[in-house]
């Protein structure tokens, strides 16, 4: 089962949920975690894996052979991202803007453009106890997160429980992380911000056709509209985590609820059982 954990708003507790789910389930299942929040990967701070492999994530960008280039400008005209510019004596490449589509190599009339790998981030693979750990990390100053996210998702081992820690937001990065997952767990908090951004994230899950449920973190802040909204929309709330100062302090130091409190281990296991049931029901509805 491939489960994504996402949210519209940042800082609602995605990483907390992934950490606790992984730790709660690792005794009974084969668990793999995929940290796709590549702009701010934090999962390692809580799972503290032993990293045994690090590899570069690259994007194929063009390299123009100055000997062959006739300065016709076909490549720079074609590039939709303005990554190539025709100067007086050569073609200038802005690799940060390149999306790696290789259109330039196809339109060049003299075959002067080859592709070469351009580093945009790294991938870490490791083990946190029994948990298989994969994390992507976008290099600082590189704007293009989705290819790094894709590289992380390619490490999906295809069996057991795989948990994707998605980036916040609702745009291309979040979509890349959430797409093709079997269930999306949306983490929110009971504030007007949480509600506003939850609605956007629900919109994404619906467009992608992925069954989803909600975790309400800091559930005791006193704003009931989030739960009202879920009830009206028929969205299942799978877990509520109350705000407690000692939970906040535990998180601050990189601790996990399930390691400290056995009742939370039970609660997170139940979340998974609920997800299994919802995925089964969804498959039944879809096929019948």
């Amino acid at each position: 089962m491939l489960i994504s954990v996402a949210s519209g708003k940042g800082g609602t507790g995605k990483t907390t949920v992934v950490t606790n789910l992984a730790l709660a389930l690792a005794g009974d299942y084969k668990v793999q975690v995929l940290d796709c929040d590549v702009e701010e990967p934090n999962l390692h701070l809580f799972l503290r894996p032993k990293v045994y492999a690090t590899e570069e994530v690259t994007l194929p960008v063009p390299e123009v052979d100055g000997e062959k280039c006739i300065l016709c400008g076909a490549c720079s005209d074609f590039c939709a991202y303005n990554a190539l510019a025709l100067a007086r004596e050569k073609i200038i490449l802005f690799p940060e803007l390149c999306n790696g589509c290789r259109g330039c190599t196809m339109v060049c009339p003299v075959g002067a453009i080859q592709e070469r790998p351009h580093r945009i981030g790294v991938l870490h693979r490791g083990k946190a106890g029994e948990i298989d750990f994969v994390s992507g990390r976008l290099d600082v100053g590189k704007p293009l997160a989705p290819p790094v996210i894709k590289a992380v998702k390619e490490q999906d081992q295809g069996k057991g429980i795989r948990l994707v820690d998605a980036p916040p937001g609702t745009s291309c990065s979040m979509i890349e992380a959430v797409r093709d997952t079997q269930f999306c767990l949306l983490v929110t908090e009971p504030t007007p911000f949480g509600l506003h951004d939850l609605k956007l994230a629900v919109g994404v899950a619906r467009i992608l056709g992925i069954p989803f449920g909600v975790v309400v973190n800091k559930s005791t802040l006193g704003y009931t509209q989030v739960e009202d909204y879920c009830r009206e929309e028929g969205i299942p709330i799978l877990l509520k985590i109350p705000f407690q100062r000692h939970y906040a302090a535990l998180y601050a130091r990189g601790g996990a609820l399930v390691s400290e409190y056995p009742e939370w281990e039970r609660a997170f296991r139940e979340v998974f059982l609920k997800i299994e049931r919802l995925v089964r029901e969804n498959a039944r509805t879809a096929s019948g």
Binding site: G10, E40, N42, A80, V140
Partner: protein, 294 residues
């Protein structure tokens, strides 16, 4: 004209809450919500929209079914897995959420069945609030190009500031360090990084500091809810001292802050208290910084 960017790296550290209070405290400025994917500042500033404009994203491919011969070459060359056979069969179609508008498919289509269209990818707004003009936007769900929309609303804000004679633009930034943050940071006078005393807060601040240096934007730090973990707050301060970064203030945990958000009011207008007081002195410090960097 000066531009102050409130930014955080990690999400949920309190950027928007702090930005809303700064919008109350700062006079003569245009406020901008640069978090166009999950824009929340309007929930605290209660704007009245005066102008709404569509934002056109990058063009996306559309396959005309009547022309498509079903050869599948487009799907083979697409590097974004955006083209797939339609369920009814015979023709191909584009998944708009995956298409990046590179046009490579048009190069190989033998039937001229693919055209590119700019989609409406969101809207941007110029609004009035009690605290001056607010420029904000909402990117369509699942759209790319949030960086481009950030650039657009910054440009609009600069025009509004010029027309109305305001010397300052106050920006609530997006989380992360990717394209929208890059777009927000380019050209900023000063960045105020809101962080929290957690392992994740420390980790993400380090990446943000490197980004600000990359763009040569001076940066100061505010530690929000510092007393939730004094040990990590100390680690943040030690890190800042080592790196020569100024800490412009520490905001204590104050239940009033969450209450203010729930009530939809900027904290400094909601209730006096330790957090509101801390924000008051942070603004004095930032205003000094802005005055001396002129």
């Amino acid at each position: 004209m000066q531009e102050l960017l409130v930014v955080s790296g990690k999400g949920g550290t309190g950027k928007t809450s702090l930005a809303a209070s700064l919008a109350v405290l700062a006079d003569n400025k245009v406020t901008v919500d640069c978090d166009v994917e999950a824009a929340d500042l309007h929930l605290l500033l209660n704007p009245e929209v005066e102008q709404q404009e569509p934002f056109y994203g990058l063009e996306k491919a559309v396959i005309l079914p009547e022309k498509c011969i079903g050869c599948g070459r487009c799907a083979q060359v697409c590097r974004f897995d955006a083209i797939f056979p339609s369920e009814s069969g015979g023709v191909y179609q584009v998944a708009p959420l995956s298409c990046e508008g590179c046009k490579v498919c048009t190069l190989v289509c033998p039937a001229e069945a693919i055209k590119l269209q700019p989609p409406v990818a969101g809207y941007w707004y110029v609004s009035r609030t009690h605290y001056g003009p607010l420029v904000h936007a909402q990117l369509g769900i699942g759209e790319a190009n949030s960086g481009k929309l950030v650039m657009k609303i910054k440009q609009v804000a600069r025009e509004v500031a010029r027309e109305e004679g305001y010397p300052l633009i106050l920006m609530d930034g997006p989380p992360g360090i990717g394209c929208p943050v890059t777009a927000a940071m380019t050209g900023s006078t000063l960045a105020l990084a809101v962080t929290e005393p957690t392992v994740a807060g420390v980790h993400d601040l380090e990446r943000l500091v490197r980004l600000a240096r990359h763009f040569k934007v001076p940066l100061g730090v505010v530690i929000n809810k510092y007393d939730l973990c004094l040990e990590m707050a100390q680690a943040l301060e030690d890190y800042c001292r080592r790196e020569g970064i100024e800490v412009w203030g520490k905001i204590p945990f104050d239940p009033k802050a969450a209450e203010a958000v729930v009530q939809g009011v900027p904290l400094v207008s909601y209730s006096p208290g330790p957090a509101a007081e801390a924000i008051g002195s942070i603004w004095e410090r930032v205003a000094d910084k802005l005055a001396t960097s002129q």
